[in-house]
Amino acid sequence: MNIVVLVKQVPDSSAERSLRAGDNTVDRGSASNVINEMDEYAIEEALRVQAAHGGEVTILTMGPQGASESIRKALSMGPDRAVHVLDEALHGSCAVATSKVLAAALGTLNPDLVLCGAEATDGRVQVMAHMLAERLGIAALTGARKLTVDGASLTIERQTEEGFEVVAASTPAVVSVWDTINEPRYPSFKGIMAAKKKPVQTLSVADLGIAASEVGFAGASSVVVQHSKRPPRSGGRKVADEGDGGVKLVEFLASEKFV
C-alpha cells in the first residue's frame, strides 16, 4: 500500500502565538515551530498500516524552509521518504490554494491512502481532507478514531455530535485522524540517525504545473484585513475558601443572575 502522510509545521500551541504586523501571516519567529500534533497521529497510523500491509510511507509538507526540521523529525519516526513543496510564492496561501498545491503533489505520488490530521492547531480550518478529496475525485473519511484496512476497503469509526458512525470507502481515499486513534511513538536514536539519510525531494509550484499567481497572496481567495490582540482577560476577585467558599460562589452567581 502506497501511503502519503500530510504533515504541517505549526507554531507551538503551548506558546504565545501571533500574526505579523506587516502582512497578517503567522509569525514563525514568535513561537517555536513543531509538527502539527494531530499529524503525529497520522504518521503513527500510517506506520501501523504499513507494518500490517507493506508498502511505502511518504511525508508531504508544504511550508517554508524551516519546515524541513519538522520533516526530519517526522522521518525519524519511521517513514521512508518525504516531499517538501517549497516556494516563496506560497507565502500567504489560503486553504483553497493550499489544497490545490497538495492535490497536485499527491497527483505525482499516486497514493492508495492519504492520511492527515483532522485539523491544524493554527488555522483550525478543518477542511483539508474534503478539499483534497474533492479535487482528486476520491473518498474522504474524516475524524477517524479507528481505521481498519482490509485489502482495498477502508472502514473508519468517527465521533459525531450525536454519538458515532461507521463509514466505509475503497482506496484511494483520504483519511483524517483525531488524537483518539492511537498513541504516537517517540523517535528512537536509530530512527533519528536513519532519518538523516532518507530522501527528501523538493518541489516548486512550477514543478507541479501551478502558476505562482494561483497561490500565496497573489492567488488568495480570502484576505486578512486587520488583526489585533484581544485584550487579555483580567482576573477578577479571588477568595480563599474559609469554610464558606461554596456559599460565596453562589452569592457571586446570584449577583450575576445565574442563580
Binding site: V127, M131, V167, S222, H227, R233, G246
Partner: protein
C-alpha cells in the same frame, strides 16, 4: 434583496440554535433562506421554526442519498443551488459537518472560505477569533461570495416571523459523490442536558476531579444551573469523562454566558476552547493556577468541599 443561504443544522427533528443565530445574522445581509439537506421528510418538522426566525424560503433537498454518505452529496446539491439562486452569501455552522460541506463547496465554486466566524458585516467583513482566543482577525472573501462558517453562541438569536415558502430542490447525486458510505449510525442517549457547544452554561471538570465517579459533582452543579458538562483533556485522557465533552484546542470550542472550571489548571490549550466565555468562575486548590488569571470569580479551595456546599446553597435558594 438577494437571498442569503443558511444551511440548517438540525438534530432529532429540531433546529439547532446555531441555525437561529445564522438566520438572525442573515437578515443583516439580505433575505434569509434556509437550506435543509437530508433524508426524505426531514424538512417538514423544521419549517415552522425556520419561518419564525425569518426564513422567507425553505429549500428542501430530501433524498436517501443525502443521508447515506458523508458530506459530498450535500455539497453537490448546495453548489447547484448556489449557482441557480446566486445568493449574496452562504452561511453554515462551524461544526465538523458544516466546515466539511463548506470546504467542498469552496473548491467546487473556486470560492474563498472563512471558518469559525463570530460576526459578519453587511459589507462582507468577518470577525474570527484565533490562537486560543488571543487574537481577533478581520477578514473577507476576495474571490466569490462570502462563504463562512459561523461559530455557535456568537450572537443572540431573535425571532422575526416570516411567511415561509417551501421550495423542493431536485436531488441528483453523481456516483462520484457517493464514495464514503455510512454503514452504521449510533445515537448515544444525550439525556436532558443542553448540547455542549450551544449551552449558555458549561460546568467543566479537570484532573482535579479525581475520578469518573466524582464527575457526579460536576454533573449535579451543571444540572442545577441548567448547563452542559465539559471536561479538560487530562480528565478525558484519564478516562473520567467521554471524549466528546472535551473542551479546548483539540476538543470543542464553547462560548457560554457562564463557564465554571472545577479542578482545571487553565493550560493554554484548554483556554483555547473557553476563553471567549462571558463570565468565568473557577475552583482550584492552587492559588497560582493560571485559570485564575481569567476567572471573574475564583475560589481557592478544595473542590470536594466547595462544590457540594455550592450545590446545597443553590438548592436552598430555589
Amino acid at each position: 434583496m438577494a437571498e442569503v443561504l443558511v444551511v440548517v443544522e438540525h438534530s432529532g427533528g429540531e433546529v439547532k440554535k446555531v441555525t437561529l443565530e445564522m438566520l438572525t445574522l442573515a437578515r443583516e445581509l439580505g433575505t434569509p433562506a434556509a437550506v435543509v439537506l437530508g433524508g426524505p421528510g426531514v424538512a417538514a418538522p423544521l419549517t415552522e421554526k425556520l419561518g419564525e426566525f425569518g426564513a422567507a424560503t425553505v429549500y428542501a433537498a430530501e433524498s436517501e442519498d443525502l443521508d447515506g454518505f458523508l458530506v459530498a452529496p450535500k455539497a453537490a446539491v448546495l453548489a447547484g443551488l448556489v449557482r441557480s439562486v446566486q445568493p449574496a452569501a452562504v452561511l453554515l455552522g462551524s461544526t465538523q459537518e458544516g466546515k466539511e460541506i463548506a470546504g467542498r463547496l469552496a473548491v467546487k465554486l473556486d470560492n474563498g472560505l472563512l471558518t469559525d466566524v463570530s460576526g459578519l458585516d453587511a459589507d462582507g467583513v468577518a470577525t474570527q477569533v484565533v490562537f486560543a482566543g488571543s487574537t481577533i482577525v478581520k477578514s473577507r472573501v476576495t474571490r466569490g461570495l462570502p462563504l463562512v462558517t459561523v461559530r455557535p453562541n456568537s450572537l443572540t438569536p431573535t425571532p422575526a416571523p416570516a411567511s415561509v415558502r417551501v421550495s423542493a430542490v431536485d436531488v441528483v447525486v453523481e456516483q462520484s459523490a457517493k464514495l464514503a458510505r455510512v454503514l452504521e449510525r449510533k445515537v448515544e442517549p444525550k439525556g436532558a442536558r443542553p448540547e455542549l457547544t450551544e449551552a449558555s452554561v458549561v460546568v467543566s471538570g479537570g484532573r482535579g476531579v479525581g475520578s469518573g465517579d466524582n464527575f457526579k459533582l460536576v454533573e449535579e452543579l451543571a444540572d442545577l444551573l441548567g448547563g452542559a458538562v465539559g471536561a479538560s483533556r487530562a480528565a478525558v485522557d484519564s478516562g473520567f469523562y467521554p471524549h466528546q465533552f472535551q473542551v479546548g484546542q483539540t476538543g470543542k470550542t464553547v462560548s457560554p454566558q457562564l463557564y465554571v472550571a472545577l479542578g482545571i489548571s487553565g493550560a493554554i490549550q484548554h483556554r483555547a476552547g473557553m476563553q471567549t466565555s462571558k463570565t468565568i468562575v473557577a475552583v482550584n486548590k492552587d492559588a497560582e493556577a493560571p485559570i485564575f488569571e481569567l476567572a471573574d470569580y475564583g475560589v481557592v479551595g478544595d473542590l470536594f468541599k466547595v462544590v457540594p456546599q455550592a450545590t446545597e446553597e443553590i438548592r436552598k435558594r430555589k
